[in-house]
Amino acid sequence: MTTQLRGTDVVIVGMGAAGGVAALPLAEAGLNVVGLEAGTWLDQRDFAPDEIRNNYRDWPMLVKKTEQERPTSRATSATRANQIGGHPMMNAVGGTTLHYWAQSWRLNPWDFRVMTETTQRYGASRIPRGSTVEDWPFGYDELEPFYDRVEREIGISGQAGNVRGRISSRGNRFEGPRERDFPMPPLRWTGFHDRMADAARSLGWNPFPGPAAVNSQAYQNRPGCGYHGFCNKGGCPINAKNATHITTIPRAVDTGNLKVVTRAHVTTLEVDSNGRVTGVNYVVGSNEYFQPARVVLLASYTYENVRMLLLSNSRAYPDGLSNNQGQVGRHYFSHHQGAGVSAFFPYDLNSWYGLPAQGVAVDDFADDNFDHTDLDFIGGGNLWVMSDRRPISAANMGTYGQSRNWGSTWKRFIHEHSDRTHGSYIQKTTLPYEDNYLDLDPEVTDPLGLPVIRITGQFKDNERAIAGFMQDKMEDWYREAGAIEVNRGGLGNTMGASTHAYGGTRMGDNPETNVVDRWGFSHEAPNLGVLGASVMGTSGARNPTLTSQALSWRTAAHLVESWGDIAE
């Protein structure tokens, strides 16, 4: 028996990084918004700096929706997919922004125009074979005001490198022009960061502090970062990490126009005979509800956005909502590649206190910031030296051939060296390909009996070439700073589930190759919007959150301006 609820103007599915941002401009414009969230509210008392609970037991007090619907994955369609690995997304009001690393990068202008820029500079033959990459339907300049807005609404610290064309060598000289400085200065550096910056300069590179959704000083009545060292998969006990549950969501609630419903597990979207969305079905425990809405914004992360569309079959959309062109799930890619580099130093790094959003970046080898004429790939990577050390993970460090990893010899090794290793992940350009995609797994289901997402994805030659090239650069950098051993991870093969998952509901003007239009609304169901990295057609060498938040604000702002056209 389904309870029919009273209708609302907008329902947002997911109160996380994207939905939690979009709610604010909608609520401020006077629209009635219902935010459906599978998780619950958490606060500072839930954020003890406890490595066992945060990093090993995965927050036992949480609603475990994403864990129960972990995607399966396989490299190619020739093999069977397995449900291996975890799914580190978080179900809570604020979503994964509660415990994310909070690196808050803008994309660079090149990322919006990969096709055009590559073709013009190197020729069309340099677009990797099989890639379905397209230019975005707009350029960096179009998104800049929304980057600027969310950087202030959420609170981003950083060092500008390009303010209206004025280049500063203290920031990222390769970034697109920004209207003004960051609202806060960058997080501080440690002695090791200074040392790495010096090493970068002596290699002729341009080091700068990275941008973070973390207060470097008091901001919006919350304190500056405490650098306590448990930010990686940890919530902030002093509210200095600018997750949406303490920034945009409470401000939207304060307008009186946003109602957040927790423990609401959305299953499907409903449509009418004209193909317009009429609302969403959700369950709370064993109770079923239908929430009617004039507009639905889907903001439940890449895998779940795609899954919910594919599960919502109707006469108007027999193969899934907004999928009459077969584009839902296509153009999928992720940063699951790995291909990291780790280094062993003959001195202590003093990294016990700090956070992954604090550190030294080098962008000289990202995007098209360097000449690719004689290289066998396009794109590149961002080098990033951060602080991230906790006791158990430190005790699990590699031993670089000096000891087996237990016993008395190991004990002596770890006593001497627990603070002498450093690892780099290296964010890399990843492109979409015709045979990398998401669909519903034919066998594996969640506890409700609904199929989970199946990832079919493989890192291709271009991605693997970038990885090898960037590992060389990272090794050069570590060696310049005195590293005595350097290890490299594999170049990447199967795309497992990732917190950096892109595509599946790509944004673009062409309805035959894209699910949503340039504003983030479905080409097929005009009152359905999609929020999050699932609309992004390129990744850049960046963490996706800030771009997904800027896009969310833009989609919400467009909805407010075009309410009559979209909702009526």
Binding site: P346, S403, G407, T409, I414, I484
Partner: protein, 238 residues
């Protein structure tokens, strides 16, 4: 054997292979250092400062009675294994001193029968493998033989008819090692890391909610006093 800062010299692969002859399977492990190598390096520890050697009598190093979730026999085997993973030695307390058995017992109480079954079957298989290949129950082997058995178990080589590791011996080893590391180096709230011996071993300066620029400078000058508190000793989380 150490440089002026008391660090170990790097051990080359060639050294490893040369000293590994007697230890057999150890040479198969890229990171393995044989018992022979350990002996030479342990003398290097003599000049080092001792860590937290004073143990509280109420915690005691080795329980003689069974854990709540294991038999007395299983507890003995687990105790001997954990004691080899992080031994009590001249450098300071080991896993048993840190309360790792109590930590594991709580893990088993909280995670239900599957985890306890994995321990029971793994410990039985460890003992069977010891008897088949070294002629004695695990707890009666010399520490050198215990280590060589554990190396076999770690690399998945502890196989053979009737040994009985479910899903490979390596996964059993990794489970016990992971819990041992969590009990040794995790927050004392969970029953391990007694007297912060794990954090002292790492020179981890402790859980702080705020680290000022002055604190960071003191850390870099090796002058930051360790804080000895569980996260849950801070009022906000009590």
């Amino acid at each position: 054997m150490t440089d002026s800062k008391g660090r170990l010299p790097a051990i080359s692969r060639r050294d490893l292979l040369r000293t590994a002859g007697a230890a057999g399977a150890a040479a198969l492990v890229p990171d393995a250092v044989t018992a022979a190598t350990e002996e030479t390096t342990s003398t290097a520890a003599a000049g080092e400062r001792q860590l937290g050697t004073a143990l509280p009598s109420e915690t005691g190093p080795l329980p003689t009675r069974a854990l709540a979730n294991l038999t007395a026999r299983e507890t003995e085997i687990l105790s001997a294994m954990v004691d080899r993973l992080i031994p009590s030695d001249e450098l300071g307390p080991g896993a048993l001193d840190a309360g790792v058995l109590r930590f594991i017992d709580r893990v088993l109480s909280e995670s239900g029968t599957n985890a306890a079954d994995a321990y029971r079957s793994g410990l039985a298989a460890l003992d069977t493998y010891s008897r088949y290949t070294r002629g004695s129950p695990f707890i009666d082997l010399s520490t050198v033989d215990q280590d060589s058995v554990l190396i076999d178990v770690q690399i998945g080589a502890a196989t053979g008819a009737g040994v009985g590791f479910v899903g490979g011996s390596g996964s059993f080893f990794n489970m016990v090692k992971s819990h041992t590391w969590q009990g040794m180096f995790g927050d004392p709230e969970y029953g391990g890391n007694v007297n912060f011996v794990g954090w002292d071993l790492l020179d981890y300066p402790g859980v702080r909610l705020g680290v000022s620029p002055e604190d960071q400078r003191a850390l870099e000058a090796d002058q930051l006093e360790p804080v000895r508190r569980s996260a849950y000793d801070y009022g906000i989380f009590e």
